[in-house]
């Protein structure tokens, strides 16, 4: 943590605050997001895929617009092209800006190889900020820019994209402002006015840590705090009180294979830091875990309200190194709140699934009362209080988006469909096919609409 920066800021910032009339502008409060913003309030830093705002279709919807867009894919996340929404505009990972109301293309940014990762409302700016990192996108050569002068870092972009927009004119800040920091960004989450990111700093040759965790202001890109990590985490989740990281494990089916996991000695370790102090929260660690301040919990799938939801580490330590056992780990208590063996509820042929590059446990969506999980051939809902099964239905699903009134999923077997289920009963409210030739990506809830991103188009559904 940069304690020098804090004290300097305290002294000099106080003078300026006095100059600014009592510093009434630096309130520390983030403006309230709109129902159309995506990812949702708090920008879903916990990876919950649950959105409480908005009224998307629960009855048979109609297509209100269908627009061709430029969509780019990351090698590591082939299934998840990023789409973010702010100020009533949909920004695709390929740089297209589309009106949420009408589906009209508003512009195409020149930032082709920058992926808009999040949209954040800001105190200083009326229209918020688009946040992008440096991870390369899989774009056809014809769409790659001829000149790319920007260094690797996290950047904040003006969201007002028009047909003349280029990267330089859109860039509002580079992380580290006022002194730019070049960094290899590993993971990035946005939570209430702050970007929490893990990165490597290529220019700091003298440092003896392999990764850093940083808090970056969404308004101006200033680094509010930084702390070193003993190794680079594979994934990162954040809620109001904690920062959750897991190390050394990657889902089977993505680029990193089970073999890669096998060679990683940190597989299955989960570290939780206090959000305010950035200190590890586990107090009574086994002796072998004290130096790394982590517990070998398994694969972290999301976090909400101080509970880490993990797939339990495989006691046999065999690929994929986690078992189809869902555990709700209570961070404050330092022990599991409940544990559910998913194989008791689904038809599993784990070897066959693994051979097909599927781990057997698909996505989860975490609401305040229920956690929805896709596993084996089933989609189920469990109580977040005690893990009790609420309902179960047969559905091969590969992504979930939940709201208080609807659970949206895309299924791939026996046919590709988008379905809407009653979150209380699991009963199908409606479903729709978009054809077998297209991939349906992460479903997006935006106020009254459900957006269905396909390979190179977005379809907006609204209740009739």
């Amino acid at each position: 943590m940069d304690s020098d920066g804090v004290s300097r800021r305290a002294v000099l910032g106080g003078v300026v605050a006095a100059m600014a009339g009592g510093g009434c502008l630096a309130t520390g409060k983030s403006p309230k997001p709109r129902a159309s913003d995506w990812p949702q309030q708090g920008y879903d830093a916990g990876g919950t895929s649950f959105k409480s705002d908005g009224s998307p279709p629960t009855a048979e919807p109609e297509v209100v617009w269908n627009t061709q867009v430029s969509m780019a894919y990351r090698p590591h996340y082939l299934r998840f092209p990023h789409v973010v929404i702010g100020n009533g505009t949909v920004y695709t990972s390929g740089g297209t800006a589309v009106s949420l109301d009408s589906g009209t293309v508003q512009g195409q940014t020149g930032c082709y190889n920058r992926c808009f990762k999040a949209f954040a409302r800001t105190e200083s700016y009326t229209n918020g900020v688009l946040i992008a990192d440096d991870e390369p996108l899989g774009l056809p050569d014809s769409k790659k820019p001829s000149v790319e002068s920007l260094t690797d870092s996290i950047r904040g972009f003006r969201p007002d994209i028009d047909s003349t927009s280029d990267c330089t004119r859109l860039t509002r800040w580079t992380a580290g402002s006022p002194t730019d920091i070049e960094m290899d960004v590993e993971r990035l989450r946005v939570s209430n006015g702050e970007i929490i990111a893990t990165a490597e700093l290529p220019d700091e040759g003298e440092r003896d840590t392999s990764a850093l965790l940083m808090g970056i202001d969404t308004d101006d890109g200033a680094v509010n705090w930084r702390t070193s990590l003993w190794t680079e985490p594979f994934d990162l989740y954040v809620d109001a009180d904690y920062i959750y990281m897991h190390f050394g494990m990657q889902m089977v089916g993505d680029e990193m294979s089970a073999d890669d996991n096998a060679h990683n000695p940190y597989r299955g370790l989960v570290t939780v830091l206090d959000r305010e102090t950035r200190d590890p929260v586990y107090q009574d660690l086994p002796e072998e875990s004290r130096s790394i301040k982590s517990l070998r919990l398994g694969l972290l799938r999301g976090a909400r309200d101080g509970i880490a939801y993990v797939l339990e580490f495989d006691p046999l330590d065999k690929p994929p190194y986690y078992a189809p056992i869902l555990v709700a780990f209570d961070v404050a208590a330092g022990e599991p709140r409940w544990r559910v063996d998913l194989t008791e509820h689904a038809t599993y042929d784990r070897d066959e699934l693994l051979n097909n590059g599927y781990s057997g446990v698909g996505p989860v969506a975490i609401g305040p009362d229920k956690i929805y999980a896709s596993f084996g051939d089933k989609l189920g809902a469990f109580s977040t209080t005690d893990g009790s099964l609420q309902w179960l239905r047969k559905l091969y699903s590969w992504n979930l988006t939940a709201t208080p009134d609807a659970l949206y999923s895309t299924s791939w077997y026996p046919e590709k469909r988008v379905s809407c289920s009653d979150p209380e009963t699991g009963e199908t409210l409606w479903s729709r096919s978009f054809g077998e030739d297209v991939e349906v990506h992460k479903l997006i809830v935006a106020d009254s609409k459900l957006l269905v991103p396909l390979d190179s188009q977005i379809v907006a559904l609204e209740e009739q």
């Binding site: 003078v15 200083s124 509002r172 308004d219």
Partner: protein, 276 residues
């Protein structure tokens, strides 16, 4: 100069020698720049890192500050009005301080001036010019769509002729230094002779040309630009950090720039006096 004037000047110098005013004032400017950076951080408005900027951007009419940062138009667009007003005000403060320090130094170095502070209207005009010059690049960017330096570097004629941005810089640096050199003593005459901006510019061009000091003015401008450009380097090497670079660099280069302007003014003013 009368005996009374000489006595007043000696008395003033014994109380507050000009070099002390300049040294302390320039260091204060550096401190104000640091406060400005903190101010922008407090109101959460980003500043651009220009520590790798070109010598082209270091050509300046007035003393400036070691500026590893600058305010870009992109940081101002869509700001809430109250924050915008505050940001622009904070941005202008160091420039105003530069004008104040330089103005006082020129005034108390003048042989036929009295007191420590120039007349307020003269300072006011100088401040006005500084504000216009400080905001002009942002205004240009707003209207044209790119900042002046990039506009020149990417001018379609150069592009048509296949001249790259680096070559444009080499080609244009001398003509721009020549133009700025002709205006180099205009701010000084505004303070010492009370000329208004347009008259000061006309006087500067005429008297530098008349004194045959065009080459000297151009060399001074280029030397100072080079100084502003390289001054952060040694500080970076000896690891004094951002604050040390801004404070020491601004004090040294700000003082040098202010003195150079007065030296050239004295040369061309003496020539004008002799000619008349």
């Amino acid at each position: 100069m009368t005996t009374v004037d000489t006595e007043q000047t000696n008395w003033r110098d014994s109380i507050l020698p000009p070099w002390i005013v300049l040294g302390v004032g320039s260091t204060l400017v550096g401190g104000l720049v640091l406060l400005m950076v903190e101010g922008f951080e407090t109101i959460a408005v980003p500043l651009d890192d220009v520590s790798r900027h070109s010598i082209f951007g270091s050509i300046s009419l007035l003393p400036q500050w070691v500026d590893p940062v600058t305010l870009s138009l992109e940081a101002l667009v869509n700001l809430r009005l109250s924050v915008l007003v505050l940001a622009v005000s904070i941005w202008l403060l160091p420039g105003m301080m530069v004008g104040l320090v330089a103005g006082i130094y020129w005034w108390i170095s003048g042989s036929d001036t009295s007191g420590f502070v120039p007349p307020v209207p003269r300072l006011g005009w100088l401040m006005g010019v500084i504000c216009v010059l400080s905001l002009a690049p942002l205004g240009f960017n707003y209207v044209v769509g790119t900042d002046p330096i990039w506009f020149l570097k990417e001018f379609y004629l150069f592009e048509y002729l296949g001249i790259g941005p680096g070559a444009v810089e080499l080609l244009c640096i001398l003509p721009i230094a020549l133009i700025v050199g002709q205006l180099f003593v205009a701010p000084v005459t505004m303070i010492l002779d009370g000329r208004r901006p347009i008259a000061a510019i006309q006087w500067s061009i005429r008297s530098i040309y008349g004194a045959g000091a065009m080459e000297l003015a151009t060399i001074l401008v280029l030397s100072l630009a080079f100084g502003w450009y390289i001054v952060p380097v040694p500080f970076d090497v000896i690891k004094v950090g951002f604050e040390g670079t801004v404070l020491a660099g601004t004090a040294v280069m700000g003082a040098a720039h202010t003195v150079a302007m007065l030296l050239l003014y004295n040369i061309v003013d003496d020539d004008q006096t002799a000619a008349s």
